[in-house]
């Protein structure tokens, strides 16, 4: 088959949250198998919170204990600036500040940024695919969960609400509005 788009890497950014995660997975498969494209990640602009996508989602984290009080967590009370790194392979990482472009944070568990994540974050650095990245303002240069990498478009505008990144069913990083459980 003629595949003029083969090898092109794309990032699916769904502005109207009408597709379920299963639909997105089908779309991803279609893009990969029929067109030979590489799907880097999926973004769901899910402002309303009642979209099919967020309802249908079968969350891999459901099997995880809801209370994480036995997990180790490191709290960093400052902004991670360009050239600075913060690694915490033993557990979760909470940043009481921003992660600026050129700054990098990595954790064995979740990465929570209580400011703007504009740099790079790696959750589940030892391979834990149920780890998530949450930020009040998620406009990263790069996200990584386990060995899955997502490079959102540069110059991405902030959406104005907290977002969560996780590995979806189809092994891509999905970014959507953070909704409390």
């Amino acid at each position: 088959m003629n595949q003029p788009l083969a090898g092109v890497s794309v990032h699916i950014d769904v502005q109207a949250p009408l597709l379920s995660e299963a639909d997105l997975a089908a779309l991803k498969l279609e893009l990969q198998d029929t067109y030979g494209m590489v799907v880097r990640g999926i973004n769901i602009a899910d402002k309303t919170g009642d979209s099919a996508a967020s309802q249908v989602v079968e969350r891999p984290r459901a099997s995880r204990p809801a209370r994480g009080d036995i997990e180790k967590t490191r709290v960093v009370r400052e902004t991670i600036r360009s050239g600075q790194t913060e690694d915490f392979p033993e557990g979760n990482l909470i940043i009481y500040g921003d992660v600026n472009p050129g700054g990098e944070v990595s954790a064995g568990g979740d990465v929570i940024v209580l400011g703007s994540l504009r740099g790079s974050a790696h959750a589940g650095m030892n391979g834990k695919l149920t780890a998530v990245i949450v930020a009040m303002n998620l406009v990263p240069l790069q996200l990584q969960i386990g060995n899955y990498i997502s490079r959102p478009f540069v110059g991405q505008k902030s959406r104005g609400y907290p977002e969560i990144a996780r590995v979806g069913m189809q092994d891509v990083i999905i970014v959507e509005e953070f909704v409390k459980r």
């Binding site: 600036r81 360009s82 050239g83 050129g102």
Partner: protein
Amino acid sequence: MGKVIVVTSGKGGVGKTTSTANLGTALALIGKTVVVIDADVGLRNLDVVMGLENRIVYTSMDVIDNRCELTRALVKDRRVEGLTLLAASQKNNKDDIQPEQMKAICEELRSNNDFVLVDSPAGIESGFRNAAAGADEALVVTTPDVSAIRDADRITGLLQHEGVEPINLVLNRLSPEMVRKGNMVSKDDVVALLNLNLIGVVPEDRGVISSTNRGIPLVHDNSSQAAQAYMRIAKRLTGQRIPIPEIREKGFFSNILEWFSGNR
């Protein structure tokens, strides 16, 4: 006891030397005693921007090597009372000076001056470390473009690590027209990212370049917006509370006036 303030940025060409020359002069114009130190060893140019190049006999290297007393190495600026320059050696390189030696010089100078401004070289290596060694405070200079801001952020992290505090931000070469057209990062976005206290905004001004070339800091003539911006920053450094005005976009009329006055 005076204050030692390092003027730094990470990136080159963003206005460290221009800011040091103008703020040093502005502080002297409002009655303070000031020493400006060129810490850009090997590439000195603060003396050129200040028009003092032909008066330099000794440099900081001569002081460090005990060839000359510190007070004798200071070049007096004859245009304003209370302003002196300590030049950098052009024959040496940045690794010929140790941070402790710079610190000792700053300590001695602060005991009989109100302000010691240290013009830092670009980069994050030994030249920057020397410039920052004796500093209590810092002025981080950036222009409204992504790479300068990134470097300013990097330098800020290093300064915080050294315990330099406060760190104030100077946003240089802001052009309201460019921001309006979306070609430049806005003032608010720069401040949001760097999360520093903004001490002043200096507009893009062609007068800066001609003043650099003539060796007369812009603030000697208080007519331009850039000169006024530097005067206000100097006053803020002395503790005065002056709001930061929005920069006016130049109208057709002022452009015509400038054209006729040859101030292009």
